[in-house]
Symmetry: C2
Subunit: 190 residues, 2 copies
Amino acid sequence: MKLLEERIRRDGKIRAGNVLKVDAFLNHQMDIGLFNEMGKEFYRLYGDQNVTKILTIEASGIGIACVAAQYFNVPVIFAKKTQTKNIDGGVYTAKVESFTHGKVYDIIVAKEFLTSGDRVLLIDDFLANGAALMGLSKLVEDAGAVVVGAGIAVEKAFQPGGELLRAKGLRVESLARVKSMSEDGSIEFC
Amino acid sequence: MKLLEERIRRDGKIRAGNVLKVDAFLNHQMDIGLFNEMGKEFYRLYGDQNVTKILTIEASGIGIACVAAQYFNVPVIFAKKTQTKNIDGGVYTAKVESFTHGKVYDIIVAKEFLTSGDRVLLIDDFLANGAALMGLSKLVEDAGAVVVGAGIAVEKAFQPGGELLRAKGLRVESLARVKSMSEDGSIEFC
């Protein structure tokens, strides 16, 4: 998606350790006009898939998912991150290892909101090692529901997550796929 | 706002310790059609206030804020919760005591996204003791910007936050104000 690639070139910042900061428009300050264009694109890609729910993960996926959901006319669920061991029986749970923070946390969704008839689109802001998407997919599968695919804003295609998930048969559509980037500010898209 | 009150009556659940669970439509599963109606109402209330930014707090304020922002045509910023002491000089910070979790955490916003020319509308899902709104107000004031007011989905009017903040001169508009509730399921609105 050209609009997003151009925005990343203009307002993204590249930091040591393969960190791409897009907090001016995507995941701290959020450009809702841009989110609407992204939502339309997700709908162009998945609009024929009879999506019944959108599932994302707190916190930075929520805004994109909520704006996109308007095109699909379905509810959004966000998986909650928790480090507590006291998870009661009423939730689906998965473990996710954070690339950014280097720790493992549990994500949970209340069972009542995912059922076997659901066709679920996963939405998130970033795809790097794929840990979040794998965790979200597990929640959906544990509910006996179907993952129709994932809609991602920015994929770091030089990290293994996207390839790994596609090899497993998950449909992954990323609106901007970063092929390479370096701290001098240069960035190349697939 | 009748629509929200009716939804709370229908799908809200009252639990011990003054907990009102609205996770079927507001802060776990999210009804985006409802959020649009709430956004329109916030715009009816604050549309003449020349709002330049909407500020919310992760995680459950984000969806409401992003959908509402479409009516104001302004960016949304979400304050991040962090328990780290390593906050660099580039952020505004405030301390917030969580009613739900009984602990104190720092909230931060990058300085580059709040400037002295901004007129900021605060949006959040719940108002109980007012700690989150007080923290968000401090961030805005530290930036030299103006808080035009707060837009809240559900205010627990039997807890002191709303009264406290209004007494300090903050304009607070809550779409549903719970006067009383009890575990037998009865709920009364102001």
